[in-house]
Symmetry: C2
Subunit: 376 residues, 2 copies
């Protein structure tokens, strides 16, 4: 993997660059559509590639491990072969879903024993097994096995958890170094900064992660319920410590406004279920603000979903028609909203990049976040 920064915004810490993997180039900053089970919900792989023009997708190790099982995907030749997405993929370590979905039995220094949220079956994840599974899946970027603390979190627990996350990181790195990629292309492992919302823990963690000299660095444990201001403060603090020349990935963030604010703080990579999940519930993000398309006010609005939008769904469908589909519970409503919202997120990242290149990102961002948060 190769990362280079090509432009820096004079008015903020924003950067624009290129991340090159064996499955191709990704321009930064970027947003990764979430393909939980190996595919983005309600979207054809072809449309993700050709219409949305996503350059990378994320997939969840926890879900793929449970279904269809690592063996099936390894047998296919890795996730790229299994789902037919031939561009870069990032997989998380499974940790986040173990804490948020599974019925946890026990966290020990060794790892986590948990019960599947699907059938209650019992499983054991360790830093080593999380790496092994991600070797089988074969994503271009894989993540260290960590504990994502909830918010709010007691200081003592956050401190103890962080210490374990760091010990687990060392085991992940050691196991990663001892093992090879399985499907003929290289993988990069990103460690994750934790420490809840405690500044000293976050600084300590950022320094620890920086010391590992990994291909990239991630910030986890944010956007878990804390106020946005707190998320920005921690992100800013951590970005000041992480190596400048490495890509920085803020996990699980966020709204369009969150993304622009965090780009300004020096983040290069994002993923989030907001555009897809909220879209399926009728929330559309547009250049002029947020639309609840189920609202009565769109009933007779025959204007395109988003005039000037650059995915096919924006011009193909009118607001009135999409509202009608939502009211009827038609699956097509979720498909349209997903296509629109992901198209919008990708467009927003491209715009951000353009303004970083042009040197006026900070000014553009300040105006844009106000528009983006408006309710239409």
């Amino acid at each position: 993997m190769n990362f280079s920064i090509e432009h820096r915004d004079p008015g903020s810490s924003a950067r624009a660059g290129s991340l090159i993997t064996d499955h191709g180039l990704v321009r930064t900053p970027f947003f990764m559509p979430v393909g939980t089970a190996g595919a983005v919900k309600a979207m054809h792989i072809r449309d993700l590639r050709e219409d949305i023009r996503a350059e990378i997708m994320l997939s969840n190790t926890y879900h793929l491990y449970l279904r269809p099982g690592t063996k099936v995907i390894a047998g296919a030749g890795g996730l790229h072969k299994f789902n037919g997405w031939d561009k870069p993929i990032l997989t998380d370590s499974g940790g986040f879903q173990i804490y948020s979905l599974a019925h946890i039995r026990k966290i020990t220094d060794d790892g986590v024993i948990f019960q599947s949220h699907i059938d209650g079956s019992r499983h054991h994840f360790t830093p080593e097994s999380a790496i092994d599974i991600q070797r089988d899946l074969g994503a271009d970027i894989i993540m260290a096995f960590d504990e994502c603390t909830p918010w709010p979190c007691e200081y003592e627990y956050a401190k103890k958890s962080l210490s374990r996350t760091h010990r687990w990181l060392d085991r992940c790195l050691e196991h990663f170094d001892k093992t090879d990629c399985k499907h003929g292309y290289t993988q990069s492992l990103f460690p994750i900064v934790q420490g809840s919302t405690f500044e000293d823990l976050r600084m300590q963690s950022a320094e620890y992660i920086a010391s590992k000299d990994s291909a990239g660095c991630a910030i986890g444990g944010l956007s878990v319920g804390e106020p946005a201001e707190m998320m920005y403060a921690i992100t800013s603090l951590v970005c000041g410590i992480l190596p400048q020349e490495k890509p920085r990935y803020l996990m699980g963030v966020g709204t369009p406004a969150n993304l622009l604010e965090c780009i300004a703080l020096g983040i290069d990579m994002f993923d989030c279920v907001i555009p897809t999940r909220n879209g399926r519930n009728g929330m559309l993000f547009t250049r002029d603000g947020i639309i609840n398309i189920k609202n009565e006010k769109w009933k007779n609005d025959f204007s395109p979903l988003e005039q000037g939008g650059d995915v096919f769904a924006d011009l193909q469908y009118t607001k009135a028609f999409v509202r009608h589909l939502f009211i009827c519970g038609e699956m097509l409503s979720a498909m349209i909203a997903t296509t629109h919202n992901l198209g919008f997120y990708i467009w927003l990242m491209k715009e951000a990049r353009k303004h970083i290149q042009e040197g006026d990102f900070a000014k553009w961002k300040a105006e844009m976040v106000i528009k983006l948060m408006r309710r239409l």
Copy 2:
């Protein structure tokens, strides 16, 4: 509307021709994907046009009347403008759903009073209102308001119902002649042959419908539970009476094998929810037979969904991946199955047409129906 028969199969009653409407040409025989609420479930309008290459779609008056309401669609400039499908559309009269979905209050000679299956609201359909609504919707082909009798049905009820259906037809025709199209293009009204599975009633009805000299003729009340052999026998009987030079539409039929058998009997037009509804449940129709894609046997089958298939989904996705999506309950599974099955139905109609043109339809059909009914 203009219909011309260009080829007749020497070994059967199959015909191949062209149906020309103000929204374009449709080659016969054809299958109409069902767009219940104005759009085919789980499929983008663009994909129906550009990938499946459907030349006509069907939509349901009952559903559109209830949601979003005729007024909204008329306000958009008709259904073509509302849903963005600019090729021909056929709407049914609403009758079928009133009997199958609504809570019926009362059928009288005047019409039907029924309660919506959605909110229990009370509505009144008459032959005249069914025409008015279809004028508002603006489909190229609209249907007479009839009673579709269930199967089995008492002879006396079928006879009484048929007589009412014929009286309603006269009122539909009269009202149709008295009213104009609303959106600037012409509409054609098709009467419907009923009579349950009673030969004398069917013959009487076919003669009555033939005497109306309408642009086309439909056969309703079949494929409602009777054995396939009975459906073929009635279809054959009726086709022998209906005018040769008019298009014939067999409503609500059927499986791929049903379609080929009925083309051989002289049918030109079909619609059915089987490819879409069964697809959403994991049943895939292929050139080699029927696949239940949820079956364990496909778990590690990394071959394309259908080798040689001509829609993008056939080659983009493997059987193992689609099975995985079904097992996970991913919406994408329904999207893929819908795309595949409709693509297959449209392909089958094109093949049938080709064999009619080449004069070997009967032989091809005999071999094909055996393959199509095979369980893989």
